[in-house]
């Protein structure tokens, strides 16, 4: 039962209309950051207020909602946002990627391939890819207007001159449909190639008051150089629980003897693989039955 003290999905209708208009502009101009009048939400900035507002404007009562934080369904941020919409929008929730209509994410794209009827909502801390190179909004706005992105390549070049390779490993800048350079939010660059997908991608930055979007099948190119091409990197290990060699891994320190394990950052992907009988180096055959 939803909390009747709030309007559907918490926000008032006029606010939702304003956000919806911004989403439509964002979809029409892929990669362009649309300013919007971000509201105070009942959670601090940095906890996904932008994503929450975009989700609130997007959800219908028929939807099934999933929230992940760095790939995990069971961390504080994911649990509290999921409960927030259970209470205010009365939506069904799930941890299974395939069963979700709307997925709000902090810093990951699910491993399972998304479908045309799904919507991925990103929480974005700093939407402006040029911000750490040029602090003035008036200047970065002009640079986007003039398509003046040389500075971004200088930054990547400095990576190479210092480290011998492009050391940027997350929030790796992309060019959208040959026009706007966009911050894909701090997803690992492993996820960048997945952004060319059949689902709608919406980005919300609450503190910075920007919404942007990528329609399905939009051409997303990670910036690079001919002699230093883009590489989607991950830890050179298999998941220690499910044995997957294709998923993005978290490194977990086990003790002070230097022992460590690598596990899938996408908890639903790892769980479904273990349920299907895959066992990694430190996994056990019947652990799921034991915990059930």
């Amino acid at each position: 039962m939803s909390d009747q003290n709030y309007n559907f999905a918490y926000l008032d209708e006029q606010t939702k209309r304003m956000i919806r208009r911004a989403i439509l502009k964002g979809l029409a101009i892929p990669g362009y950051q649309v300013p919007f009048a971000s509201r105070e939400m009942p959670m601090p900035y940095g906890w996904g207020t932008g994503g929450v507002q975009v989700s609130a404007a997007t959800l219908t009562p028929d939807d099934t909602f999933k929230v992940i934080d760095q790939g995990a369904d069971d961390t504080t941020n994911a649990v509290s946002i999921r409960k927030f919409f259970e209470r205010t929008a009365n939506v069904a929730t799930t941890e299974e990627t395939a069963k979700a209509d709307v997925i709000q994410t902090r810093h990951r794209i699910p491993e399972a391939e998304l479908r045309e009827d799904q919507i991925l909502v990103y929480q974005v801390p700093i939407p402006e890819p040029l911000r750490f190179l040029e602090p003035r909004e008036t200047e970065t706005r002009k640079m986007h207007a003039l398509e003046e992105y040389g500075l971004m390549h200088v930054k990547l070049y400095e990576d190479i001159s210092q480290h011998g390779a492009i050391a940027t490993s997350y929030a790796y800048p992309v060019k959208v449909e040959g026009r706007y350079v966009m911050d894909p939010s701090p997803i690992p660059k492993f996820d960048n190639p997945k952004m060319d997908m059949p689902a709608i991608q919406l980005f919300g930055a609450g503190r910075e008051q920007r919404i942007y979007a990528v329609p399905p099948y939009t051409k997303i190119v990670s910036l690079d150089f001919e002699d230093y091409p883009f590489e989607a990197t991950k830890a050179e290990h298999a998941c220690d629980l499910c044995g997957s060699t294709h998923s993005y891994l978290d490194e977990v320190i086990l003790d002070d003897q230097g022992n460590r394990m690598f596990v899938c950052s996408d908890t639903d992907y790892c769980r479904s693989r273990r349920a299907a009988g895959h066992v990694g180096r430190l996994g056990t055959e019947n652990e799921l039955e034991a915990s059930a």
Binding site: N7, F8, A9, E13, Q14, K16, R17, M18, R20, R21, A22, I23, L24, K25, L27, A28, I29, P30, Y32, V34, P35, A57, T58, L59, T60, P61, D62, R141, K142, H144, A145, L146, E177, R179, Y180, P198, I200, A213, V214, P215, P216, Y217, T218, K219
Partner: protein, 192 residues
């Protein structure tokens, strides 16, 4: 006075829920140019389609300026939009949304196309049609896997709109209870 013509009737039965469903249809349409989606919930005066009326209630409020083209600019529609949305009715050069038939909405040059710094400060056209045009153009670009056929009222004029990208107009086409869209980002070629 009949219920159908009253400015007070024909709004959303459940505003928050109806608007959420209608927005999903509008968002899907804008994200997938040329594809047709169902949109319903409002019953506007008969001079515009239920789809166009639903879109107006979903997106317009006192913060959005609306232009009514001559073929739909009737006292009953003005009163209906004013009562349900509070949107001010303005001239084309100020409009955030322009509503009407294709011929009455012309010329396209009279609407705002945004500025290089703020391409979002542009008008969205709601082209209300008795029925959708038969496919005469092929679209490609964001939101489209390979190509999609779409019926457009004037291919050459809309091609001129898309070369303005990232500036330009975004268009919704409505007929009956259906909606489709043509954002400025789509590449249009004449269908052979």
């Amino acid at each position: 006075m009949q219920a159908e013509t009253s400015q007070f009737s024909g709004g959303f039965a459940a505003p928050a829920i109806d608007a959420a469903h209608a927005f999903r249809a509008a968002m899907n349409a804008m994200a997938r140019p040329g594809k047709v989606f169902d949109i319903h919930g409002a019953t506007p005066p008969s001079v515009i389609s239920p789809a166009a009326g639903t879109l107006v209630l979903t997106l317009c409020d006192p913060e959005t300026k609306v232009f009514l083209a001559s073929d739909v600019d009737t006292p009953s529609l003005r009163a209906w939009i004013t009562f349900h949305t509070g949107a001010p009715i303005v001239s084309p050069d100020e409009a955030d949304f322009a509503l009407g038939g294709w011929q009455a909405l012309l010329p396209l040059e009279q609407y705002r196309i945004g500025t290089p710094e703020y391409p979002d400060r542009s008008a969205t056209l709601i082209v209300d049609q008795p029925e959708f045009d038969t496919p005469n153009a092929s679209l490609s670009g964001p939101g489209i896997k390979d190509h999609i056929a779409m019926g457009l009222p004037d291919v050459a004029q809309l091609q001129r709109n898309t070369v303005l990208f990232p500036l330009g107009l975004d268009l919704f086409f409505t007929a009956g209870s259906q909606i489709k869209a043509l954002p400025r980002s789509s590449h249009i070629s004449e269908k052979a």
